[in-house]
């Protein structure tokens, strides 16, 4: 180990061929008769230069300006309609610009590989070792470096279909792309951190909506996660009691709610609790409520709507935690309890000293994941309340809107793309910080090997 490190630290003066490889890629390889590799590097360099001349350089300039030519009409005599001359398309400019940046980044990586390869052959030559042929290299990728071969396709896919759109979307947060700057008729421009400023401090209504929604999102995530978690554990404990009969039946009954597609349950619940839904109608028929004026506004009163949402979520979520904690409960060795009984511990002590620590230890990562999942729990809110009741003091949001459903409304209804992108980034920052902080502080992370 020590020796190897020493060897690699020996500084070798770059030979002429290596130095030339800095400019003419693959030169060193060609000079050392590694033709396939050398031609490959050279072809990539030529291809890159051609690409930059053919359009890459323009793309970069366009990325900076995001377009300057406006769309206009040209009247042609004899024609009924003027010909519409479409100007620059800021959206495409941004997309191609980002793409070009990725191509440049990829080229820099290839260039570095080229320099590394040049130094490698120089070193091998100096050491008098044989220089590997193309076939030798190819074999290496099927053997020692097989992981690179295997990962090549998925990584390319991720870069093209995930990273590129992601970078593009992130860039939109720093522009003024919204309905006032809708392509193709209009241009949009870079505005730096303007959107962040508007949301956080600048625009009173916007920041009120953002912080109001943020606070509710966190309250919601907290309650949605912990009500389900503890209620699920309690249900599992009850079913797991020795004297409970038909254990499998009870479990199956609860699991039925999972078998039902979530959106159906939610839509049923929505009808159930509506102003003149089953609940209110029953109350009216029983004479508890006089008429429709007295109907309980499950979805219309802001506070009640929030409580209803959390309550309905329990219906959907408890069976999941119940199943999971049942599994853990069944795996706790019975001798622990027997030993505790011998020592004179009662049931409550056993629960807090044996059962709960076991469950918490195993499920903390799950808990964090659920919490984050609930921050972004689009389905439940969107299908149940649609974010309503609408809050007149908010910008396009209702009282039960989470950040993520607000974001959806901004893009799909309002076409406030840049604003939505900004909120997306903020949501990411919040959830990433939260999960990293909590996760690295859990026992499951610190004592990864401790679990028997």
């Amino acid at each position: 180990m020590f020796q190897k490190k020493d060897e690699s630290e020996i500084k070798i003066e770059d030979s002429f061929a290596t130095k030339l490889s800095f400019v003419i890629m693959g030169f060193a390889n060609l000079a050392h008769k590694q033709f396939a590799k050398g031609i490959g590097f050279l072809a990539i360099e030529i291809g890159f230069i051609v690409f930059m001349i053919m359009g890459g350089a323009t793309n970069l300039v366009n990325l900076i300006t995001l377009g300057t030519v406006e769309t206009h009409d040209e009247v042609i005599p004899g024609k009924i309609l003027p010909v519409r001359v479409f100007g620059d398309n800021s959206m495409l400019f941004l997309l191609y610009g980002v793409l070009t940046c990725m191509v440049i980044a990829a080229f820099v990586m290839v260039w570095r590989a080229n320099v590394k390869s040049a130094r490698q052959v120089q070193k091998l030559e100096m050491q008098g070792k044989p220089i590997p042929s193309f076939l030798d290299d190819a074999k290496l990728y099927l053997d020692e470096k097989f992981h690179i071969t295997m990962l090549f396709l998925p990584i390319t896919g991720i870069l093209a279909f995930t990273v590129l759109p992601l970078l593009y979307m992130i860039c939109i947060a720093f522009t003024n792309y919204d309905r006032e700057h809708q392509v193709p008729g209009n241009l949009f421009h870079w505005i730096g951190l303007g959107n962040f400023g508007n949301i956080l401090i600048g625009d009173e209504r916007m920041s009120r909506t953002f912080f109001g929604t943020l606070v509710w999102t966190i309250i919601w995530a907290f309650f949605a996660t912990f009500t389900n978690y503890f209620a699920g554990i309690i249900v599992a404990l009850i079913i797991n009691q020795k004297d409970v009969k038909f254990k499998k039946l009870w479990r199956a009954v609860l699991v039925l709610t999972i078998a039902m597609p979530q959106f159906i349950s939610l839509l049923v619940m929505r009808c159930f609790f509506s102003n003149y839904g089953v609940v209110n109608r029953t109350l009216i028929n029983m004479g508890i409520i006089k008429n429709i004026d007295g109907a309980i506004p499950f979805f219309e009163d802001p506070t009640l709507a929030k409580i209803t949402v959390i309550f309905v979520n329990m219906w959907i979520g408890i069976p999941h935690t119940m199943l999971m904690s049942s599994g853990i409960l069944m795996n706790i060795p019975q001798d622990l309890y027997e030993a505790a009984t011998v020592d004179g511990a009662n049931k409550v002590q056993m629960f807090f000293k044996i059962t709960l620590p076991q469950i918490i230890f195993t499920t903390t990562p799950y808990l964090i994941q659920t919490f984050i999942g609930n921050i972004n729990n689009f389905n439940l809110i969107y299908l149940l309340t649609g974010g309503g009741p609408v809050n007149a003091n908010y910008y396009s949001a209702g009282d039960t809107d989470l950040l993520v459903t607000w974001l959806f409304k901004l893009t799909s209804d309002n076409r406030d793309y840049s604003l939505a992108s900004t909120i997306g980034i903020l949501i990411f920052i919040i959830s990433a910080t939260f999960s990293l902080l909590t996760y690295t502080n859990t026992k499951s992370y610190k004592e990864e090997d401790a679990f028997q």
């Binding site: 024609k79 309609l81 479409f86 809708q182 193709p184 509506s274 008429n291 219309e300 007149a392």
Partner: protein, 417 residues
Amino acid sequence: MKKRILALSLAAAMVIGALASCTKQETVVSSAVEARDVSLTLWGAEADLDFLKEVSSDFAKTYADEHDDVKSVTVDVKIVGENDSSKEALKDINAAADVFGVPGDQTAQLADAKAIYAMPEDVVKEIKDLVGDSTAAKAFYNGNYYGFPYSPNTACALYYNKTLFTEDEVKDLNVMLEKDLGDTKAIGVDSNAFLSSCWILTAGGELYTNSNRDYCTFDSDECVEMMKFVQKNAGKMYKGSTEDAVGLLKDGKLAAWFDGSWNASKVVGALGDNVAVTVLPKVKVNDKEYQMTCFGGVKYYAVNAASKEPEVAIALAQYLSSADVQLKKYEAKQAMNPPQLAIPTALSLIENDTIKSNPAIAAYMKQGEMIVVQEPVIPQDWWGDFGALYSDIFDGKISADNIKAEITKHIESWKTM
């Protein structure tokens, strides 16, 4: 020697160049005479697909026959409903159809993005002849007309229970509200801004007229008095969703319900044999009588500004919205199971026997005539905001004295939307 070769080659180059320009000129001339193939795409709703295919192939034949410079026309009909078309078109205007149906409230988006053509003057005249000035104006924005209205986008009517109100009573809202119905609510209006705005519009409230964002008179004294009237009578009225209203109507707990044609089948189904449809009533507030009104708009065919064949596209749009095709569409929709209602816009059809024989259409068309308020081009978030404001006034969360101040506050915020 070398010089001669050079001269020769130069001369040759010139001759070739001249020849080349000659042939070029020739092709330009011949292309004007030579008939070309035109292919267009048309977006329509899924339910109209068969119908659109049929009429657009009729169009293709006649157009090619009538125009010497066009050899053939092919119209490719694709499914993109009217409500999605503007969103889809703005995603990539070059991939969008040459002609597509859009609801009138999308005009501003499309026109601002320069995605659709404004109609030239002589075409506008033909549109006005077909549907009348007021309907044509519902596809008007910023000084231009943008298309061919073929159907009202939003036709609203008052549905009521015949056993609870007589035909005369539903003509006057004050009478309706004063009638003793016990627990039953006299009239219901959805809190959705599209419908609940009817009160303020009735009192003469104006919004974004001529697309002037700063223009709104919703806080005028008359409008405020009207909202006070609504708040005072809230106990006799119902504000909720159609879903809830359907239940109430069925149980006889709601006597009348104001809603759009898109919910017609639900509402009619709930009332069953007791159903009757009419126009909105008159209302008297502070001794001033108003005829109630509401927003109204049209669906129209717009022509894509990126179209390669805008002239043929205009002809197609015009054909699709012609009186004959509207009648054909009405008949085709009636023949469907269950029958659907395609309300026409062509003035010439009002007196048509087939149309007249359908009583349901009468109420819609009558209400349509009464609509003085053109569905304006409003930013999307206005709807939610106004709905919330209306709910707060209705529920008494905003006291009568504060109504004016609150509306003024909201008008200020609408200016920046």
